[in-house]
Amino acid sequence: MKASVSQQQLAHGLGMVSRAVSPRSTLAVLANILVATDDGRLRLSATNLELGISCWIGAQISEQGAITVPARTFSDLVNTLPNDTVHLELNPATQSLNVRCGMSNTDIKGIDAQEFPPMPTPDIQDGIHLNISDFKEMIQQVAFAASTDEARPVLQGVSMNISEDAAVLAATDGFRISVRRAALSEPVSKPVTAIVPARALTELARIATDGDQVVTMVMPPGRGQVVFHMKDAELISQLIDGNFPDYRAIIPRSFKGTTILTTNAFLKACRQAEIIARESNNVVRLSIQPGGDQPGKVEITAQSEETGSSENFVEATVEGGSLIIAFNVRFLREVLEVIKTPSVVLMTNANNTPAMIQPAGDDTFQHVIMPMHLG
């Protein structure tokens, strides 16, 4: 292998795939990045066997070939190289990669590319095409609600439901659920249901640059995997097997109280309350007070034995009676952070029933949070 690439692109590509490297694996090759020539471009790939990321960068290739090199060593080196052309050359006899750039000349010992787990090449024709920036927004609004508890694998995933002309993403950790719907630009021929690890989607949102217009999702039949293919990058993930909770049954149909708040003011108040509340199990109390003739307000209080107490008022349009309801402030903050509209609607019934948060005037995003009981 003999190739020349730009240092900037190489560093960017390595940053992208490094997240899939599994540094502590006993399978040494998983700590490496595959560097290979591929149809006139240079391909970089890494996998931890659950998640695999590849990216392609433009290169001048004068000799085909492939090698894997330790991820840490290679990216640390490339990051310190000058912004110039990097010349890569494989020495097949020693299985080492010569990296030359400006005045610097380094040999990195590698492992034969044959040992790198082969990545499936999906048939992109079969795939579902999704608009990148829309899909990224969907992921951001949903994936954070997934559980991190390894004992409940299904809840570590995001349920993807694609039928005809709409896609629905949902994630829950058992205490809250985030559901986001979106219309598809082109209808799909057959419906798709799958549970994709939240971590894989978060990585996808990270590597998908808005410049790529379309991401193609392919599920090769019978493999239990999903491939997200973009122009210059590809992400492969294992699917999670199991039954996802039925979110249609969880989301309440009607609410007695509707409170409209300014998203930013509400978020800010929650962030302040969290500073105090994190010492006391993240409990905050929301006191929703209808104003009658004047505008109503929501009082957000947090109290901690050790740290102190905090009170915040946010003006609000309140329909329905007054209510005091307690929440995990982290749940509130996390959902408010992904709501893009200037106003947000908080819908409630009672202090022991689920509450829902929605962007004002947009019912494609629904987030249900269970309140806390204060004994």
Binding site: E150, P197, G375
Partner: protein
């Protein structure tokens, strides 16, 4: 001086009965064994008021001929043994011929029986050992023994019965175990008309395990089998990830008889050597069949103990069988707790080429490593602690964090030397004291989106129902949801993010340990258990901020030097000691 006299028959039999029948569960056991010896395929047990009011057991076994009913209730009357030699190869559960006589002498007992081939059956009624009536009677094939008002004539014994709940638990534990041992017999157990256990009698033990422990646990249990000449062992034992805090769920049957033999369970535990954390015990049901001449069952009146002719040989076989079973299943056992990884094997086949298969397996295991390393670390602390500085109680000096070692310990410097802190134990203490402070107010609970239903073994179920208020006080909302079923609606906020059912199970696991803990003590104990579960584990890498937070939290504790379970949170190496060890002072 009083004259020496031979006791009247009635008194003598009451005394003798005391050896065999000490509580309602013993009656159930004797009757159950008779039914099994009679070749029953169906056994139905009705219990009222935990056996004080009524114990009625009906079977479809061989039955007793009407003319022998009167003999059957006499002491040392049995159909199972004829000569002394028979004693050494007993293959029935009973043989002494004492059960019915003993039960009859301390209750009002009625036996109705018909042999399947006969048209009519007979009935005998016994009260306090005296035969009231013997008559012929129509009856379904088999035998129905009903024992009413147990111990009505032995008030002393009655007084020593435990609470109904406890007696019920004893009966439940007994019947569930026999149901496991005799999967071909269809068992039904009713308490005051409510079904506590029903098995189908189709011979599938796993199905019975599911009826007792719930489907999840039943699925995880590992099947063990081992046999050689004259010795056959089979049964189920739990994978290393599935444990209890006591030995109560370890059950042995030898030649169809439930025995409580501590050396057998010791052999089983040896099979788990180094795989279990200290203070954790597996669940196991093990059935041993061996030559009757190799085992003496005539040791204990209730036959709960047996003597082996070659004990070492038996224990060795038990240990080997368990170990082998465990090792054979080991990888899947660990996967159970990490469901996501169960997704991996298909990938293993397709995603990576075959020759690196074994290495990949190792890769999975290393990901599991912290879980195994953790306990080992803990073991180390415990052993070393006594050798080092005994820690005085009381406040901690201000500590300066130095760093983390082995992702399990923090190193800190104080004015008087070096402190090594066990991060798990320390966090446990911090959480526990936080809970103590919060208790004055109330513990916040996080509600669940959808209630989660779970099953508990029958013997815990009653205790669970009784302790629901205590659970509520520490932040659980749990409600009954059917026989042996409960559902959890909310869990303590401290647990947010964890599996709700696992959280409840942590709390209730050793409900049965003590029968009547004080309420406040129980709450504290539950809280301690919860803190243990919620605390950071050994093996997790902490950021510097987290380490500092933990140190600060510990400094704020009232008794920072031990965890709520009494293990040390820290080891102190005074400057003096360091100087001595380095030969700077004193040792020259």
């Amino acid at each position: 001086m009083s004259r020496i006299e031979i006791l009247p028959e009635a008194v003598a039999s009451q005394i003798a009965a005391g050896e065999v029948i000490e509580r309602p569960a013993s009656v159930v056991k004797e009757l159950l064994e008779n039914a099994i010896d009679a070749g029953a395929t169906q056994v139905s047990i009705q219990i009222e008021q935990a056996g004080r009011r009524l114990i009625e057991l009906s079977d479809d076994g061989a039955g007793i001929p009407p003319d022998q009913l009167r003999v059957a209730i006499l002491r040392h009357a049995t159909s199972k043994l004829r000569t002394t030699e028979d004693l050494f190869h007993i293959d029935t559960l009973g043989f002494r011929g004492e059960a019915l006589a003993s039960i009859g002498s301390v209750s009002r007992m009625k036996i109705t029986s018909r042999q399947p081939e006969e048209a009519a059956g007979g009935r005998v009624v016994v009260e306090g050992g005296a035969v009231r009536t013997v008559e012929s009677a129509g009856a379904p094939a088999g035998t129905v023994v009903s024992v009413e008002d147990l111990f009505y004539n032995v008030p002393a014994r009655l007084k020593f019965l435990k609470r109904d709940l406890t007696e019920r638990q004893q009966i439940d534990a007994l019947v569930t175990r026999y149901a496991l041992a005799y999967p071909h017999i269809r068992f039904k157990l009713f308490h005051d008309g409510v079904a506590a256990l029903q098995t189908s009698g189709n011979g599938d033990r796993r199905e019975i395990l599911a009826a007792i422990y719930g489907v999840d646990i039943a699925r995880q249990m590992l099947e063990i089998s081992f046999s050689d000449e004259n010795f056959k062992l089979e049964g189920f034992t739990s994978p290393v990830g599935l444990t209890r805090s006591n030995r109560k769920e370890i059950t042995f049957f030898v030649n169809g008889r439930w025995v409580q033999d501590s050396s057998l369970s010791a052999a089983l535990l040896k099979g788990y050597h180094t795989l279990l954390m200290i203070g954790r015990y597996p669940l196991a049901v093990i059935f041993i069949r061996m030559d009757p001449t190799e085992v003496d069952v005539n040791v204990h009146p209730a036959k709960a103990e047996v003597r082996f002719r070659q004990p070492e040989d038996v224990f060795g076989k038990v240990q080997r069988a368990i170990r082998r079973g465990l090792l054979a299943y080991s990888p899947p056992a660990q996967l159970v707790s990490q469901g996501w990884q169960t997704q991996l094997p298909p990938l293993n086949q397709r995603f990576i080429s075959r020759q690196i298969d074994p290495a990949w397996k190792m890769a999975t295991e290393t990901q599991e490593a912290p879980a195994i390393v953790g306990p080992a670390f803990e073991e180390g602390t415990q052993k070393e602690q006594p050798a080092l500085d005994a820690l005085p109680a009381g406040d901690l000096p201000l500590l300066r964090l130095v760093g983390q070692v082995g992702s399990a310990y923090l190193v800190a410097e104080g004015p008087d030397g070096l402190y090594l802190i066990d991060q798990h134990a320390a966090h446990e203490r911090v959480l526990f004291e936080k809970w103590l402070r919060q208790r004055e107010q109330s513990v916040p609970a996080q509600a669940l989106l959808t209630p989660q239903v779970f099953q508990v073994p029958p013997q815990i179920s009653g205790m669970m129902t009784e302790q629901l208020p205590a659970l509520e006080k520490i932040g659980f909302r749990v409600e009954p949801f059917g026989p042996n079923l409960f559902r959890v609606l909310a869990i303590p906020a401290i647990f947010s993010g964890a599996d709700p059912v696992a959280a409840v199970m942590v709390a209730v696991e050793d409900f049965e340990e003590d029968e009547t803990p004080l309420q406040t003590e129980l709450e504290a104990r539950l809280a301690a258990r919860i803190c243990k579960r919620a605390a950071v584990k050994a093996g997790s890498v902490l950021s510097t901020e987290e380490q500092k937070m933990l140190l600060q939290g510990l400094e704020a504790c009232k008794s920072p030097r031990t965890c709520p379970h009494g293990r040390p949170t820290m080891i102190h190496l005074p400057i003096d000691l360091l100087e001595k060890q380095f030969g700077r002072r004193g040792s020259r």
